[in-house]
Point group: C2
Chain length 149, copies 2
DNA sequence: GTTGAAAAAATATTGAG
DNA sequence: CTCAATATTTTTTCAAC
């Protein structure tokens, strides 16, 4: 789908606040709210807008500990291993990467003990990983909720 | 702030769809929409809900390439280096970690050339980094927009 | 594609238990 | 904290350009 500058402005606004009324967006882009409604609908249909999500403070829900985990997967076991990773509660992201690791995970847990449980009782039990490295996130300095559109 | 099971259910719903009408949430938790309104407002005020954001497909806006970058920072240069990193367009996340790297970044760029520009023209120019490793994300298998509440 | 206006639906507010 | 009722806003639809 082709996006013009108006579409991109709408995306910027909805990225920073998904609950901005269409009427307010309409004022900012100097068009009617019916147009905003139309354009947003088309971007939703086209998959440009994938969804609207509340951002929750992880600590507030008892998930104060996070980590990045690099994994090496033995050849031929990729599909199975990934499928099992996907099913684990606390595995928030799975990225396939170039470089030292084949896969990098982002984990969330209650505390370091929860992290240990995730690593030893869940992830380590999956066959196919030859090596791993855990990087505990001490602090997140920036986690921009919006892409630089 | 103390969250009861009702609050957590509301959070789960708003995480998966931030635009769910309060009336529908009310039906699901079997309370009035005024109560939902009240609880959501209190969770917003308390910072439990940090915001509502549209999730945009990065490829649709020309940001089809992403990478993780590990960095080592020379002692004493942490504050300055982080501040400059924060200002760079395309640096989406900055995590301070234990282990091999002091800092791990998540970058977004148009393509591999944009990634090179980010790395060589922006990040490498910042003083204080002694070593770095770039892991290009070939694919993202999972990127859950919701925490396991 | 866009618009204004009407209809439908949702949210914000109020007052009371 | 919760609710019902009311007031206000927003979303949605639609005929017309």
């Amino acid at each position: 789908m082709e996006l013009d500058e108006t579409d991109r402005t709408i995306l910027r606004i909805l990225q920073s606040d998904a609950r901005t009324p269409f009427s307010e967006i309409a004022r900012e882009i100097d068009m009617s709210s019916a147009t905003v409604h139309d354009r947003v609908g088309r971007m939703e249909d086209a998959g440009v807008i994938e969804g609207y999500h509340a951002k929750i403070d992880p600590r507030a829900v008892g998930l104060g500990t996070s980590a990045l985990v690099g994994l090496r997967i033995e050849q031929g076991r990729e599909t199975d291993a990934l499928e099992r990773l996907r099913e684990i509660d606390g595995v928030q992201e799975i990225h396939l990467t170039t470089g030292e690791w084949d896969v990098v995970l982002r984990l969330y847990a209650e505390d370091t003990d929860g992290l240990r449980e995730l690593m030893f009782d869940e992830i380590s039990r999956i066959e196919g990983f030859s090596r791993s490295q855990t990087m505990v996130i001490l602090a997140t300095d920036l986690e921009a909720p919006a892409l630089p559109i």
